[in-house]
């Protein structure tokens, strides 16, 4: 099932019609919500449905995997019929409250035999102080150390599109009757391979050579703090190498503050210059940098 949201409210926040939002075509048929029931045709997963739901502009922001356990085939206790047992779930919460919850049944204390649902809850934030992160820090760091486990591999992206594209094609071609058409076609032949290069997402397979042995990405609050952090890092690397040191600079306006710091105290005298004289005319950090 798929859908596209219209104007409405989330709590007190007004949400604009999807087709009226900026950069969206007024006649767009792009779905903003999808719910799928999937099955895997093999011995292990027979009879286990996979429900996938995702969408934009939903009431709550939450990412989780919920595993619902099968209903017990019989009740061990008198007066507690199977259909009165609460459902047992293992919920893996990915975002925003990372953790794991196990919902199960237990006996209600007292002389009467009665079973009820309870929760066993682990939340990361109860045990660890999480550093605020944009998410990109991890990815950029992984690029630097060449760890691609969080990146899509080409064959898995291809396989994903092979599964999804026939549905998209059929919907596009036949409108509402598309799914029936697809089902008819699938009965006879296997899924047509898709070849449209244009729809393939760009693969993130960046490799950078890291010369920073600290291998740490530092987030700082503002450009001045950034320049200071970079200057200190650079001085530390110079100090690490008692031989000839090679530093590769960069252009643009971002590093200008750093360069001005390096030309002035207290940084200047820490660089092994032979002759460095005069004070900088450009040591005023409040000036806007060269664009």
């Amino acid at each position: 099932m798929r859908g596209q949201y219209q104007a409405g409210k989330i709590g007190d926040t007004e949400i604009e019609d999807y087709r009226k939002t900026e950069d969206v075509k007024p006649g767009s048929t792009t779905e903003t919500y999808a719910a799928l029931k999937l099955t895997i045709d093999n011995w292990r997963w027979a009879g286990v449905p996979f429900y996938l739901r995702t969408g934009k502009a939903l009431g709550i922001k939450r990412t989780e995997v919920a595993i619902k356990f099968k209903q017990a085939p019989f009740a061990m206790f008198r007066d507690t019929p199977v259909d009165r047992l609460s459902q047992n779930y293992l919920v893996i919460s990915v975002e925003p409250t990372e953790g794991i919850t196990l919902q199960f049944n237990t006996k209600v204390p007292g002389p009467v035999i009665s079973i009820d649902g309870v929760e066993m809850k682990f939340r990361y934030k109860d045990y660890f102080k999480a550093e605020p992160s944009t998410g990109y820090e991890t990815l950029i760091y992984d690029c630097m150390i060449g760890d691609n486990i969080l990146f899509q591999r080409a064959d898995s992206v291809e396989a994903g599109w092979q599964a999804v594209q026939p549905f998209l094609d059929a919907w596009k071609k036949a409108g509402a009757r598309g799914l029936e058409a697809l089902q008819r076609r699938q009965r006879g032949a296997s899924l047509r391979r898709r070849t449209a290069e244009a729809r393939r997402p760009r693969l993130a397979e960046a490799r950078l050579m890291v010369l920073n042995d600290n291998r740490k990405i530092v987030a700082v609050a503002d450009p001045v703090a950034l320049a200071k952090a970079a200057a200190e890092r650079l001085l530390a690397r110079i100090a690490d190498n008692s031989d000839r040191v090679a530093i590769c600079l960069t252009g643009g306006s971002s590093p200008k503050r750093l360069y001005e710091l390096l030309g002035n105290e207290p940084y200047r005298s820490q660089i092994p210059w032979i002759a460095c004289t005069g004070s900088s005319a450009t040591n005023d950090l409040s000036r806007p940098p060269i664009p």
Binding site: A230, I238, L249, T250
Partner: protein, 83 residues
């Protein structure tokens, strides 16, 4: 002899005197006052074209490094800044 050498990446390929020249800004900010000329390694933006400039810079880097190929155990640069 100063032991710190200053290299630079250059994607703009404009004359050394152009305000958009990458090394010009670094020179004005600190290199001109402090680093000996021989330790400043700009890209030759007076070359006929970017390919030629890149070839020359490659030769300069190899000569500085003292080998034709990189040994992962011995990096060429101690620090690489990226804007």
């Amino acid at each position: 002899m100063d032991r710190v050498h200053w290299f630079i990446g250059d994607e703009r390929f404009v004359a050394a005197t152009d305000s958009l020249n990458n090394m010009r800004m670094a020179r004005q900010a600190f290199l001109n006052r402090c680093a000996p000329l021989i330790n400043i390694h700009p890209m030759a933006t007076n070359a006929a074209n970017p390919d030629e400039a890149a070839r020359r810079y490659q030769a300069e880097l190899k000569s500085f490094y003292g080998a034709d190929s990189l040994d992962p155990a011995r990096p060429l640069f101690d620090v690489v800044l990226m804007a």
